[in-house]
């Protein structure tokens, strides 16, 4: 499904082009509704763009320029993700849609819950399944904390709390997240929020109503 770059199978009407950090969640949604796999071609762009959001809009544009003509419609499994509107300008060009919201933490938790969490403690750092699973690579190595642990203060001086917004129930990840909070000296909260509004990328494609389970 992911490798069908040229969409040789013309029955797949919709392209879902997503952030690599969402690939497991998107695949799980498709698995729960097998009929989707006949209609959707799922493609993912590098998850590492998360920390270089200036690459997202040009990357999406490049992919769509080559492939958009192969589909009836296009959904982008991204929020704004710090592109400051640049992604929306690309989407307009290709008549494509994206998930509403500023970032995945917001669309996973839902805007109300996310706002409430920020209000309770602005100095909150959020984890998702993806970030827990890749914590060492993205948070420790990615921020250079493995080589320069003294930078911790520079990054996290203003943070007090870690909230794990879980997509699935996984005991090991809960333990890991709690340990990361402890290592950072943060308060810890766990919330099983599921995939939130991620499923909109599949909406209106199936007669069967989507059943979202974790």
């Amino acid at each position: 499904m992911i490798i069908d770059k040229k969409n040789t199978d013309k029955t797949k009407k919709r392209l879902v082009l997503g952030c690599g950090a969402l690939v497991y969640d998107l695949l799980r949604l498709i698995k729960q509704n097998p009929s989707l796999s006949d209609k959707v071609n799922l493609q993912c762009l590098p998850a590492s763009w998360h920390n270089s959001p200036q690459l997202i809009a040009p990357g999406v544009e490049e992919y769509l320029s080559e492939n958009s003509h192969l589909y009836e419609d296009i959904y982008i499994a991204y929020a704004d993700c710090g592109t400051g509107g640049a992604l929306d300008r690309v989407l307009e060009k290709f008549d494509a849609k994206r998930i509403e919201g500023a970032h995945c933490y917001e669309f996973f938790a839902g805007t109300d819950v996310f706002e409430q969490l920020s209000e309770e403690e602005l100095g909150t750092f959020y984890l998702t399944d993806y970030l827990v699973k890749n914590f060492n690579r993205i948070m420790i190595k990615g921020l250079g904390l493995d080589k320069h642990p003294e930078l911790f203060e520079v990054y996290f001086k203003h943070y007090k709390k870690l909230v794990y917004l879980a997509q699935t129930e996984n005991e090991q990840w809960q333990k890991d997240a709690q340990q990361y909070a402890k290592d950072f000296g943060f308060e810890y909260e766990y919330r099983l929020v599921g995939t939130g509004s991620l499923d909109v990328v599949f909406e209106e494609i199936d007669i069967q109503p989507l059943e979202i389970k974790d």
Binding site: G82, T83, G84, L122, L151, Y155, H158
Partner: protein, 235 residues
């Protein structure tokens, strides 16, 4: 094992070589070496302003270019900034003594309400200080009142706002509006920055100057003050 490079003496270098070495050490984030080089230049009778401008700011500009080009990343830039801070610590008291004649004026800067990203904002603050501004850093999560109070208290030539989140950047517009209402825009220039921003956004909220990076922002701030002075001198 010590390599030859480790035990060579900065004192052996001539001025030009030493400035280049300080820039290299700053690039490599070597705190102690940058501090030592700064001290040597001062001991050789260099003016503190020249040490700052040529060695430290000059070095940080190279860092800025390589960051923009994707050769350096945030952790490395932070190590460089740390090394620059070491040199600034020595220069600051010397510069303060002669501040009257060299200062470009006051620069108030802060991250807007709801946002606690501050790495870029602090870099801009450091480069503006390096350019000759007296910087008043309001920190993070600043409601409009903080900016207004700081303007009343310090009468800065420039107010700078930073935002890294799509959700917090529109708040800059609120600050601009309040400044407008209070007639503060006449005497206070406004600058804004942060990765998701661009000139178009700045135009939309009525901010005259968008700074894409620390070095360029400091230059723009300096250009603004110099052009003000020119206008004043003409009158």
């Amino acid at each position: 094992m010590m390599s030859e490079e480790d035990d060579f003496d900065l004192n052996d270098l001539d001025d030009k070589e030493l400035v280049e070495q300080i820039q290299d050490d700053l690039y490599d984030g070597l705190d102690a070496e940058v501090t030592e080089g700064t001290e040597i230049l001062l001991a050789r009778g260099w003016d503190a302003n020249d040490v700052l401008g040529e060695a430290l700011v000059g070095g940080m500009k190279i860092v800025g270019v390589d960051f923009r080009d994707g050769i350096l990343f945030v952790p490395e830039v932070l190590k460089c900034a740390g090394a620059m801070k070491g040199g600034m610590k020595i220069l600051r008291p010397i510069l303060a003594e002669s501040a009257e004649d060299t200062s470009l004026g006051k620069f108030v800067i802060g991250t807007v309400k709801g946002d606690i990203h501050d790495i870029g904002k602090n870099l801009v603050a450091m480069m503006c200080e390096g350019a000759g501004f007296e910087v008043i850093n309001l920190g993070i999560n600043n409601p409009v009142e903080n900016y207004l109070e700081a303007i009343d208290e310090h009468e800065p030539v420039i107010v700078g706002m930073s935002a890294l989140l799509t959700t917090t950047m529109p708040y800059m517009g609120v600050v601009v509006e309040e400044m407008e209402k209070r007639g503060m825009r006449k005497d206070t220039h406004i600058m804004c920055g942060g990765a998701p921003l661009n000139q178009e956004f700045a135009d939309a909220i009525g901010v005259p100057a968008y700074g894409r990076d620390a070095a360029r922002s400091a230059e723009m701030a300096e250009e603004h003050v110099l052009s003000l002075r020119k206008k004043r001198d003409h009158r």
